[in-house]
């Protein structure tokens, strides 16, 4: 291939990528600008409302009223709920999965193979199959419309145990555990002082995945919780759409408020997230 040809190819590739990047990014711009528009301006101009200001844009027509209206409706309660549910799930599920994964990877006791088999088998159970019987169970236990009913079923994901089992096998050598035992470490301090630090990359990735998973979880809270004050953002925003279907400003503002915290978290912890995402894949 000649040099000019190569340059042309490269230019074409860049143009294509820029166009695609543009298409990916436009909805965000539209979303943010829409959340700052008044209801009348939705039908005049795709993005900014036209006006007399700089670049022919009616800057003075932009307003924070949508956000005010949103918080007047008590949307901050749902925001706090989402933060609490996601953080609690991430923390407890990570700890439970790390402990279980470690024990079935490194400890020898009767029943270990059976438990490992059950965990692996549970990976193929589709969560949708458990919706109806899970709902009936929560009803029998009196846990419907409670925080416990929402969180407890989500704290023991077989997938997490599997990931931590793999991580332990890969990054915790037997010799290290033996050495710690000879030095007089108890089994508990071995787990907390020796093993957990070695698992830090997996802990970070799994916490992040679980946090995001819970933040975006819709079907569990939709089924379990009825009281509006207990709903996380995902359910609250869907209900908001049911009531204020044509209030585009309010709905876009609610979407911005729901997505912003997670986007910020991701940009802070990008590396862990991508590595966590592909952990299962590269080996798979």
């Amino acid at each position: 291939m000649s040099a000019t040809n190569r340059k042309l190819n490269k230019a074409a590739l860049h143009t294509l990528l820029i166009v695609l990047a543009f298409i990916t990014l436009i909805p965000y711009a539209w979303l943010i600008i829409a959340s700052l528009k008044g209801q009348d301006d939705f039908f005049s101009g795709i993005f900014f409302p036209p006006g007399e200001g700089f670049l022919g844009i009616g800057w003075d027509k932009l307003t924070l009223n949508n956000y005010r209206a949103l918080f007047d409706l008590g949307f901050e309660v749902n925001l706090i709920n989402s933060i609490f549910y996601s953080a609690a799930t991430a923390l407890f599920a990570t700890f439970i999965c790390a402990a279980t994964g470690f024990v079935i990877a490194k400890h020898h006791f009767r029943g270990r193979n059976f438990i490992t088999l059950v965990v692996l088998g549970a990976l193929i159970v589709p969560p949708t199959l458990l919706l109806a019987p899970g709902y009936e169970l929560l009803y029998d236990l009196g846990l419907l419309d409670t925080v416990w009913g929402l969180l407890l079923p989500l704290l023991a994901p077989a997938f997490g145990v599997f990931l931590f089992r793999q991580a332990v096998i890969q990054s915790v050598p037997d010799e290290l555990l033996e050495a710690a035992r000879i030095d007089g470490c108890s089994e508990w301090s071995i787990f907390f002082v020796v093993v957990l630090p070695l698992l830090r990359p997996m802990i970070g990735a799994f916490m992040l995945i679980t946090f995001l998973g819970m933040w975006n979880n819709f079907i569990s809270p939709q089924i379990v919780l009825q009281t509006a004050d207990k709903q996380p953002l995902s359910v609250a925003i869907a209900q908001l759409r049911g009531v204020y279907k044509t209030d585009y400003g309010l709905l876009t503002a609610a979407t911005v408020v729901s997505v912003l915290p997670v986007a910020a978290l991701f940009l802070l912890l990008q590396k862990q997230f991508i590595s966590g995402l592909t952990t299962g894949a590269v080996k798979g």
Partner: protein, 299 residues
Amino acid sequence: MSAKVIDRNRVLFSWAMLTPFLLLFAIFVVYPLIQSAFLAANQTFGPGTRTFVGTKNFQLLLADPVFWKSIGNTFIYALGSLFIQLPLAFALALALNSSKLRGKGIYRLIFFSPQLMGLVFVSILGALAFEKRAGLVNQAIAFITRNEKFLEIDWLQQHVMATLILISLWLYVGFNMIYFLAALQSVDKSLMEAAEIDGAGPLGKLRHVIYPSVKPVATFVILLSMIGSLQLFELPYILLESSGGPDNRGLTIVMYLYQNGFDLGDLGYASAIGWVLALILIALALVQIKMTRAQEVNA
């Protein structure tokens, strides 16, 4: 300490560590799983009201045109993922894989970013963007074509399957691209050079070097994407405001499960739907395992 005491200590430790998981897993996974089999043989009017009906739920299901409609819709969506979304993701990964490309990290972040929004919030954004008149999509089409009549395209009601597939492209192409990109980076560089020396063109390299080494990840991504697609719920549920749309043209299997179990209160019928879906998914997983095995034998 004698060896026996140490042994007992270790076993105690093991079980203490396992207890939280085993308890939660037994109560919230194993027990409901067993119950779902019993529930599928019952009719209920809300929780706690079982009437035994035997295999009637499955008989009704097989004769239920709405159920077949939901299966059809779900498979159309899944095929859209398979034949549109994944090839695009792979092409994008190939484009980004060239080592000399500037701004690779930025592109990767941009294409991946919709995934961060989460399905529910993407659904809300999609519902607003595909709205008649005020929505981004119709306004953009009308602006580009200079034709006001395109403002009236009724995406959400009339063309809901197309809308679902378009939104899923925006949401998942970059996500799947990440997997393909990781796989491409593991392609042996010396093999690529050897192929080049042997005079292989871009297509030859793709077929004989890249394809074999990407295949395991590709089968994994295909399986993951099929499993996800067949359980599609939030997107159509929010776009269509919990209905199936006109003539149920946007109804998916899990939506129908939800409608029966939680809108109508028949957890038995819902469980029967759940089992049919589970069997489809397990069959898919078995096919994938078979294919992977065959690859390993060939290799």
